[in-house]
Each structure stands twice: as C-alpha cells, then as structure tokens.
C-alpha cells in the first residue's frame, strides 16, 4: 500500500514538472490577463477565423510573445493595438473602427433592417386595405358560396 502511494505521488510529480517552464508572465496574473484580453480582440491572419488567443499558428505564437514583451515594457493597451494595426491593418481587429471604408460593415445591417421594416409596413398596409375595402358579397356570389358550403355538408 505504501509503495502504491509512493508511486502515485511520483506520477503526480512527473505531471507537474513540465508546468515549471510555462509562460514567463504566469507569475504576474494581471499582465497575463491583459495578454489574454488583448489577444482575444486580435485576429490571427493565418487562420483568419481565430483570434490570436485561440490560434496555434506560429505567427500567433510570435505575436503573443510580442504583446507579452510590450506589456512588460509598460506599453498601454492602445499602444499595443496601434502596433498591430500599423503592421496588419484594421483587419486584425475583431472590433473594427468606424470610418469610410467600414461604413457598409457598420451601417449595412441597420440599413437592411430599415428596408425590411419599410417593406413589411407597406405590405401590412396593403393587406389591411384589401381586407377593409372588400365589398360585401353580391347576391350571386352569396348564392354560390352557399351552394359550395352545402355541397361539403353532404355525406
């Protein structure tokens, strides 16, 4: 039993050992949190639908290292974001700035909604008019309707 316990302990220790050479900033949780937050806002250009935080691409590794270095150098979040935009363009931002080139991106959905609502409104109005404007049945029509209804009542 004692031997088994020892073996278990050793197995656990063996698992813990590699954790020692993890990220150099792990000792500083605040900085590590900033790194995670920043890299979640930045798009990895290699696998374009992943953020730098999620991506395992080498470039993402390099960029995380760069961001880590800038955090250690005391750069502000804005300076770090500007560094990335200067090199890779607005495309790296998951939250792109509002400007002429991104106008359609920001206003497009709103525009579609306005057009959709306008069309819906027009449609409803037309339907309403059709329903209310309907003249009462003429005698001829009433007779036909009656006949049709009776027909279905027959067994």
């Amino acid at each position: 039993m004692k031997r088994l316990f020892l073996a278990l302990c050793l197995a656990l220790v063996a698992h813990l050992a590699p954790a020692g050479d993890a990220a150099p900033l792990a000792a500083d949780p605040v900085a590590e949190k900033r790194l995670t937050k920043l890299s979640e806002e930045l798009r990895c250009l290699v696998c374009q639908n992943q953020s730098i935080a999620d991506s395992h691409a080498e470039l993402a590794d390099d960029l995380r290292r760069e961001i880590r270095g800038m955090i250690q150098a005391g750069k502000s979040d804005k300076e770090i974001i500007d560094f990335m935009v200067a090199r890779y363009g607005d495309f790296v931002l998951y939250n792109p700035p509002f400007k002429a080139a991104t106008l359609l991106l920001w206003v497009g959905p709103l525009l579609l909604m306005v057009v959709g609502l306008a069309m819906l409104g027009r449609h409803l109005k037309q339907r309403n008019r059709r329903v209310t404007d309907d003249a009462p049945l003429s005698d001829e029509e009433a007779r036909r309707a009656e006949a049709l209804l009776n027909e279905t009542k027959q067994p």
């Binding site: 250009l45 960029l63 090199r87 890779y88 363009g89």
Partner: protein, 194 residues
C-alpha cells in the same frame, strides 16, 4: 408577374453578391504599409555573416524585397518566376529569409543555441538556393521573425516593391505568378524607375 419580379430580382442580386464574395481571395488583406516608409532593419547577410544589410542601403534605388524560406512550399512554386525575373532584372531583388529554422514546425528551439540556429539556417538556405537557383542580389536572415512582424508578414512568400525614397509602393501576398509579375510588378517598376 409583378408579385414574382421583386423576389426574383432580390434573389439575383443576392447570388451576384455571393458570387463576387466567394471569388475574393481572403488572403488578400490590404497592407497598411503601402505608402509608408519600409521599416528599418539591420540583419546579417546570408553570404557574408559579418555584414548586415538594411533598407537604407538601397536609398535612391527601386528594389524588391521577397520573403522566402526553404520550408515554404509556395516559395518553390514562385521561385522559377523569380529566377527568370533576375536574369532580365533592372532592379535589385533582396531576399528576406524568414524564420528558416524555427519556422519549419519541427525544430525544438528550446534545445538550440542562437549560434547553432544561425549556422543551421545558413546551411539550409544555401542548400536550397544552390538547388533551385539564386535570383537574389543578396539575402538576409530573419531568424526570429521580428522583422517579418514589422513588415506585416503573415504568409510566406510575400513581396514588396520599394521606391527610390524607401517607400513601400506595393505588397503582394502569396506566390508571384507570371501574370502578377508582368501585369503589376514590372509596370510599377518601370513607372518608379523613371
């Protein structure tokens, strides 16, 4: 008739929009560096380890900076085009060898000293150039990819056209095809060289 006309037109417009969208190349991200000065660097020259080269050495010249690596498959694809270009070239073509060792995805960098990495990089780069031909006026080694980051490199190969004032005038991401060379790069060089 009218009842179906508008939905049909809407459908056609949507198909046209999607067709255009699907035919765009998602890798073609416009570079913010076009129109900006080429970022400065001083990197060791492949053929002369004790010398460094930087964009400032090319002041007054129109030149091309091509990012390559021996592990990069698309580089092999564009290489014959570059070799052909170099034979007739009127402008220098500088190679930026990008992360030759640590970029191959196999090397364990934690066990390699910087000297060993530099040596291995030179061996691999030299071997690749002697096998496939060397179109470069000179190549420099960017072992850790830092200069690559300054140039916004995200997919090797990439090529930059830089003018006499040291301003980046064009960036091409991906392999250079004869079409790109003849249709875009050569005319631009001609215009800039005037």
């Amino acid at each position: 008739m009218n009842r179906f006309l508008w939905p049909l037109l809407g459908f056609i417009a949507l198909v046209a929009l999607l067709a255009v969208g699907l035919n765009l190349n998602p890798r073609d991200v416009p570079s913010p560096l076009v129109g900006k000065p080429a970022p400065a660097f001083a990197l060791p020259v492949l053929a002369a380890p004790d010398k460094t080269f930087g964009p400032q050495d090319m002041a007054g010249k129109v030149w091309l900076l091509n990012v390559w690596s021996s592990w990069c498959v698309s580089c092999r694809q564009e290489h014959p085009v570059l070799v052909e270009f170099a034979k007739r070239a009127s402008v220098p073509l500088v190679g930026l060898n990008y992360k030759e060792v640590r970029g191959d995805g196999e090397s364990d960098m934690s066990k390699m000293s910087p000297e060993a990495e530099g040596k291995l990089a030179r061996e691999r780069a030299d071997q690749w150039l002697s096998r496939h031909g060397n179109p470069y006026t000179l190549s420099v080694l960017d072992l850790d990819g830092r200069v690559g980051i300054d140039y916004g490199v995200y997919g090797v190969p990439e090529t930059y056209v830089i003018d006499k004032a040291g301003t980046i005038r064009m960036k091409h991401t991906g392999p250079i095809t004869p079409d790109v060379l003849g249709g875009k790069i050569l005319p631009l060089i001609g215009e800039l060289s005037k």
